[in-house]
Amino acid sequence: MRKNIIEVKDITKSFTISAKTPGIKGTLRHFFNRKTIEKKVVKNINFEINEGEIVGFLGANGAGKTTILKILCGLLYPSNGYISVAGSRPFERETSFLKKITLIMGQKQQLIWDIPPIDSFYLNASIYGIEKNEAIKRIKDLSEMLEIDSELYLPVRKLSLGQRMKAELLAALIHKPSILFLDEPTLGLDINAQANLRKFLQIYNKQTGATILLTSHYMKDITYLCKRVICIHEGYITYDGKLEKLLTKLSPNKDVSIICKSIKDIENLKKLNLEIKNINDNQITFTVNKLDFKNTLKEILNKFDIEDLHINEPPIDEVIGKILINKK
């Protein structure tokens, strides 16, 4: 049985924000009598994550996903609650804890801009107490996995976004962290670079058994990598469970189109108590619940001689989008 590597109990996080009304009057009022409001960004959340899991955080902008990641990696102090990551309290930032984690943020970098990434890699290796020979080996292994080579010797400012992201990943993984916090890691990357990055993360997870926590607005990142998702809305967890179950919950049905060999078959299909959407000559389209899908289809294929069959599911982006738009 795999053990919990992350435990979060009743965590809340509030920020004090100063609000300003528009115009010169508002500006003067803001200068002389600044009004601050306390905004609760994360509200009494609870969850546990097992070693080696890949978990995706879903939610609209400002829902609190990134704040949760920042709390988990030790950047922010929680206002209340209990939190344990790899047996440590993240905000205490003990060296042993910091050596186990990494945070990767899309479009934000830790590489030194004017010198080649290789210099930053050696610097990071030394910071994490990795000996030079071991660092050389790790850089070689990771650069092979990430398919970067000559780019390591060019100044960071000369690299493309995709190359830079790969170099960022290498810098962030050189100490072989067992927990990865990824905040929009594929932001701004082209389709191929996104696919490569996802593939790399999946291999890294399989090879090292690392736990990965991920936020992304690209649904492909979530569906490719995460079996489990946590949905956040206005600081609350609205769903925590299998992605597949969430999809079934949000989109319980599939559309099936069947082209029958004869009109007679269509008449017989009507008798099956199906939720018919439309009939066009010898083509019938009906909706079937995902839970009954297998049995229904089996019955049809056994009883009828059909010419063609199409199964339509709403695109995953559209389904997940319901969480973001309808705030379910």
């Binding site: 030790g74 102090y77 934000k108 970098q109 030194i112 004017d114 050696y122 990071n124």
Partner: protein
Amino acid sequence: MKNSSIYKFSTLFKTQYANMLEYRAEIALWAISGVIPFFMLNIWTNNGLNESINISNVMLSRYFLSAFFVRQFSVVWVVFTFEEDALLGRVSPYIIQPLHPFIRYFAQHIAEQITRFPFALFIAIFFFIFNPQSLWIPSFLTIIISLVSIFFSFLIQFLMQSIIASFCFWTEKASSIEKLLFIPTLFLSGLLAPVSSFPPYVKSWIYLTPFPYLIDFPASILSGNQANITEGIFIQFLWIILFFTIFKKSWKAGTKKFTAMGL
């Protein structure tokens, strides 16, 4: 453990030095921009002001050349770098690495000083060409004590600015607080005039502040002007301890307030 720390710090310095060398033209300009002491020397000697404080022309020119050197190797800008990094979200990855972010900035400053050294030496050679009577070679011991004192001066300034930089956790514009220190640093540090030229009542309280230990004290040692070395170094050390303690507390309190903005 010891080897790992040496490797860590040597890699840090090497990396920062490589980064600084990318800006060699900029550093040359910074070195040239630090010539205020030479302007001040000109004002003092052309107006015969040195006679009023019983310092010869030669000793005064040595003092201002030393002040130039001290300034070159104690200039600090950590508050501006940290503020920019905090606003742009660059501080976040540093905070969750097993190395205090200010050690990075410290290494940056040391690397910059090493890069700056040849330019400062070049300016000094020019100075001696035009002022051959001022040429002097301090004893080995004087050089060592001066280097210690200059390094302590740098540490005091670095810690003072680091304390202000840690206010970035409360206010986004902590560098404006640093501007409050600019005037006393300029007038009381000995950059514009040796502290010995100040009226006695000013001197009586000026030595209660860290400012005369930033330029005047190390420059006086290096130039061979009068200075109480043991007392001065001890007081510098006390300021370092005090500012280090305050910095540790303000950093700890500040990181609790950190909002990780910019990401």
